[in-house]
């Protein structure tokens, strides 16, 4: 009978290395899920010192009632049509050519009875206390979307890039500093073309 030794040991020395390798891989690749949402600025509570007179035609009034019905510029509107209406208002550029407010990049109808220029146009959003939050977010989303659509159009024209992509890259903390400096200027320029003037009036309670 041939003599049998103990079964050969499996060399487990490198197992630790493999474990470390995997551990480090997961450590590096895992990102903790980040939240996302609509960024808004609230108006400061102190009223401005000087009363600014705003022409009625430069205000786009959006009213949202308790049943989720929408009144845009005194017309009952479907929420699906709101974006197009807001774009038409913002992009109108009604000021005559040669005047200080003349908007050279606007592609709207240049209706004299609507907004003068994107810089002057203000969207005012009013809602009821009973309005559903979900509906409110949809309206906010459409209004922000209207601004983004216009900004994207201008960014495509000037820089051949979408504004939303540029902004996301600018806000991303992983973007290198020199790229960000460059983007900052471009983002600022587009924002100045279509400044976001979305006022949220205090809610009516009835």
């Amino acid at each position: 009978m041939p003599k049998r030794g103990a079964p050969p040991e499996v060399n487990a020395g490198s197992m630790a290395d493999i474990a470390f390798l995997l551990l480090i891989f997961f450590l590096v690749t895992t990102t903790i899920e980040t939240d996302a949402g609509l960024d808004r600025m609230l108006p400061p509570i102190e009223p401005p010192d000087t009363d600014v007179i705003i022409k009625q035609k430069n205000i786009f009034q959006v009213n949202l009632n308790r049943d989720g019905q929408l009144l845009a510029d005194d017309e009952l509107t479907n929420i699906k049509d709101l974006r197009a209406k807001a774009i038409a208002f913002l992009d109108n550029g009604g000021a005559p050519s040669g005047s200080a407010d003349y908007c050279s990049y606007c592609k709207g109808k240049r209706d004299v009875s609507s907004s003068d220029s994107p810089a002057k146009a203000i969207i005012s959003l009013k809602n009821d206390r009973e309005t559903k939050y979900g509906t409110y977010i949809t309206v906010q989303n459409e209004l922000v979307g209207a601004y983004n659509d216009l900004r994207n159009r201008e960014a495509q024209r000037l820089f051949k890039k979408d504004f939303t992509d540029m902004e996301a890259e600018y806000l991303n903390p992983e973007t290198p500093d020199n790229v960000r400096e460059e983007l900052k200027e471009k983002v600022k320029r587009i924002q100045d073309l279509f400044p976001q003037k979305l006022s949220e009036a205090e809610t009516s309670s009835n």
């Binding site: 040991e9 499996v10 487990a12 197992m15 630790a16 493999i18 474990a19 551990l23 997961f26 903790i32 899920e33 980040t34 939240d35 996302a36 949402g37 609509l38 960024d39 808004r40 600025m41 609230l42 108006p43 400061p44 509570i45 989720g68 929420i79 699906k80 809602n127 009821d128 206390r129 009973e130 309005t131 559903k132 939050y133 979900g134 509906t135 409110y136 977010i137 949809t138 906010q140 989303n141 459409e142 922000v144 979307g145 983004n148 939303t164 902004e167 996301a168 806000l171 991303n172 903390p173 949220e200 205090e202 809610t203 309670s205």
Partner: protein, 160 residues
């Protein structure tokens, strides 16, 4: 005879540790799959609305969270079914929001105190009344930067 003597002088055999890494791996995988990172236990229902024009909330250390929604089943008896505000781990009134923001702001390092964002995590069934009260409180303490936290998705699904 030598057959029987053999075992006597052999040393105690070493415990085989080759399977130890497997056990460690098993534990590692278990914890990897089970861990969920969250900051506070939710006491309110929190189904966020959908939106498309969203921006990411970078840098978690600059965010203060406020939750709003109906109390969950187990708190329904004590707090009713109306939408409530949850700050940290407890229910609160709208009037307490201001103090909460000031307190949280004081906890942050000096250089971040001016760049804080308030993330409103609101259930889509909540009414705007409570949101307006919160917004009013936020304006009082000058916390003007807000983020309505949403899921990414078609905004028109909120209407159903």
């Amino acid at each position: 005879m030598s057959k029987f003597n053999k075992k006597k002088d052999a040393a105690l055999p070493a415990v085989n540790t080759a399977s130890l890494p497997d056990i460690v791996f098993m534990l590692l995988f278990f914890f990897m799959t089970v861990t969920v990172m969250k900051d506070s236990t939710l006491k309110v229902e929190n189904v966020l609305p959908n939106a498309t024009e969203i921006k990411k909330l970078e840098k978690k250390d600059r965010v203060i969270y406020i939750y709003v929604g109906k109390p969950t089943r187990e708190y329904e008896k004590t707090y009713g079914t109306e939408s409530k505000i949850q700050l940290n781990d407890k229910f609160a009134d709208a009037s307490e929001v201001g103090d909460y923001i000031l307190m949280e702001r004081a906890k942050k390092p000096q250089e971040l105190q001016n760049v804080l964002t308030t993330a409103l995590k609101v259930d889509k069934e909540a009414n705007m009344g409570i949101i307006s009260d919160i917004k009013q409180e936020l304006r009082k303490v000058n916390a003007l930067k807000v983020n309505y936290t949403t899921y990414e998705g078609d905004a028109f699904r909120n209407l159903q």
